[in-house]
């Protein structure tokens, strides 16, 4: 994907809207993040980057409803679905209806396939149990999705028989079959061997091209650069830099914090030509 064929971000309706989001852990001295705001337009990809411990994953988890927020609002398609309550640090996962939960598709770093089910069982369980869809229809769609991620022949494999990259692709299918409004990807390649990273990211790039709204947390800068419509750099509890023009963000960051952050990756990249090749591969697609 090149910069020119990216649709204009400004015209699209907003899928996810986060305002003044504040997250605090009980007994912690500081907020994980404090009053951050951003939008994810429909069909666009927002990539969140930042150093370890900057709260990237926590941000994703609060939007997913896995952790309560202490301030601000989260809105989906214009409807506020959650408002922060101070003092609810220990209240556990947010009580959201089944229908609302299926609107957020999430893929975790690892170990999230159900080991007691085969690939097809993993993918078809929620549509059948939660959305009460017919088995034949769900299985047909599951096989189509598996075909898209080149795993049609592994439908009856157990998770332990798959490589890490294959597991993550199955996890993506499992999230997609519920037709989520937005896909949340939480460092989905962080636990993978380097040679498997590309096969997973390739799938994500195809999804982006197909217009899937996504919020992605990643350490893979070349991937972020290739896929992002918008970027935010999270640092010290806030957004250090945001950009609607990722190419400029990655090549000519405005703030000192972003320059410092990206420089650390440049260092790695210069030593490792692999990353450059990957970037080229994404650009070619």
């Amino acid at each position: 994907m090149t910069e020119t064929n990216k649709p204009d971000a400004h015209g699209a309706p907003i899928a996810l809207s986060v305002r003044d989001l504040t997250k605090h852990y009980a007994d912690a001295a500081h907020n994980v993040f404090d009053g951050i705001s951003f939008d994810v337009p429909k069909g666009k990809v927002l990539v969140v980057v930042g150093p370890s411990g900057s709260g990237k994953s926590t941000l994703l988890r609060t939007i997913a409803g896995l952790e309560p927020i202490q301030g601000g609002t989260i809105a989906l398609n214009g409807d506020v679905i959650e408002t922060g309550q101070p003092g609810n640090e220990n209240s556990g996962r947010v009580k959201r209806g089944e229908d609302l939960r299926t609107k957020f598709g999430m893929v975790f770093q690892s170990y999230d396939l159900f080991p007691n089910k085969d690939v097809l069982g993993n993918i078809t369980m929620a549509p059948m149990l939660v959305q009460k869809r017919k088995k034949e229809e769900v299985e047909r769609e599951a096989l189509e999705l598996l075909d898209r991620v080149h795993l049609a022949d592994r439908a009856h494999a157990k998770p332990h028989e798959l490589s890490g990259g294959q597991r993550q692709r199955v996890a993506i299918c499992r999230a997609l079959i519920l037709h989520p409004e937005i896909l949340l990807l939480d460092e989905i390649t962080a636990a993978l061997d380097p040679e498997m990273v590309h096969e997973v990211l390739e799938v994500v790039v195809e999804l982006a091209d197909a217009g899937q709204t996504m919020l992605i947390v990643t350490h893979e800068m070349s991937f972020a650069r290739a896929i992002a419509d918008r970027v935010i750099l999270l640092s010290d509890g806030g957004i250090a830099e945001r950009s609607d023009d990722p190419e400029t963000f990655f090549t000519h960051p405005k703030t000192a914090r972003a320059q410092e952050f990206l420089h650390s990756f440049d260092f790695v990249r210069h030593r490792n030509a692999q990353a450059e090749r990957e970037l080229k591969a994404f650009d070619d697609e």
Binding site: R93, T102, F108, F114, N116, M125, V130
Partner: protein, 224 residues
């Protein structure tokens, strides 16, 4: 070798088998009823409610600290008599073994439930599953697999511990053996070794398939 002939006396084998049946019956009923008790106890032990926690803790510790024999005496001579409860010796045995098995299986269940990674719960939540659906379709099947080795071990311990029922006057396989030995003491002075040898084999035959099944399932589920 002469003592071995005691086994050929008419009625010896059928009586031993009858005794074995009593043993197997007490053990089987206890184990089967321990399973629901244990699963519920295990679930209760994972709750955060402080009152439930304390009750379960006291229950588990009480059962663990008391020798099974003391529990049997309390149940049979103590409670049943004190409250004029018409509980026969076999019933007292089954009751104690259910309480014991339930507590131990409960602790195993608690461990198995807590060993399931949090991300499995989170994934079920994200997929829209209700708590109950997540428990039945995701958490329990995985917990059962992890539960198996310990619970088979527990089942064999229950089978073996049924021998304490002798002391309440239950005529199970050990008691039958004693009766046979006593009745033939003058004719077969060395018969003791043979009778108990056969009883040993009987226990082995009951327990061995359990560990075979467990081993096979463990292998099948090794990577699940």
């Amino acid at each position: 070798m002469q003592g071995a002939n005691i086994l050929l006396e008419p009625g010896v084998f059928p009586r031993l088998l009858q005794g074995l049946w009593v043993t197997v019956w007490i053990a089987a009923v206890s184990v089967l009823l321990s399973v629901p008790v244990g699963l519920v106890c295990g679930w209760l032990m994972t709750l955060r409610n402080p009152v439930v926690r304390v009750i379960m803790r006291v229950y588990l510790d009480f059962i663990r600290i008391m020798p099974q024999l003391a529990l049997l005496f309390i149940a049979y001579y103590g409670i049943a008599r004190a409250w004029n409860w018409n509980l026969d010796a076999t019933g007292a045995c089954v009751l104690v073994f259910i309480l014991w098995g339930g507590a131990e299986l409960g602790d195993l269940t608690r461990g198995a439930l807590q060993s399931i990674p949090e991300v499995q719960h989170e994934t079920a939540y994200m997929l829209g599953l209700s708590n109950w659906q997540a428990f039945i379709h995701v958490i329990l099947p995985q917990a059962v697999r992890r539960l198996l080795p310990g619970s088979v071990n527990l089942a064999t311990r229950i089978v073996k511990t049924t021998s304490l029922a002798v002391l309440l006057g239950v005529v199970e396989v050990i008691k039958v053996g004693q009766q046979i030995i006593d009745a033939n003491r003058f004719q077969y002075p060395t018969g003791t070794l043979w009778v108990y040898g056969v009883i040993f084999l009987m226990y082995f035959i009951v327990c061995w398939p359990l560990s075979l099944v467990a081993h096979a399932l463990e292998k099948r589920w090794a990577n699940d």
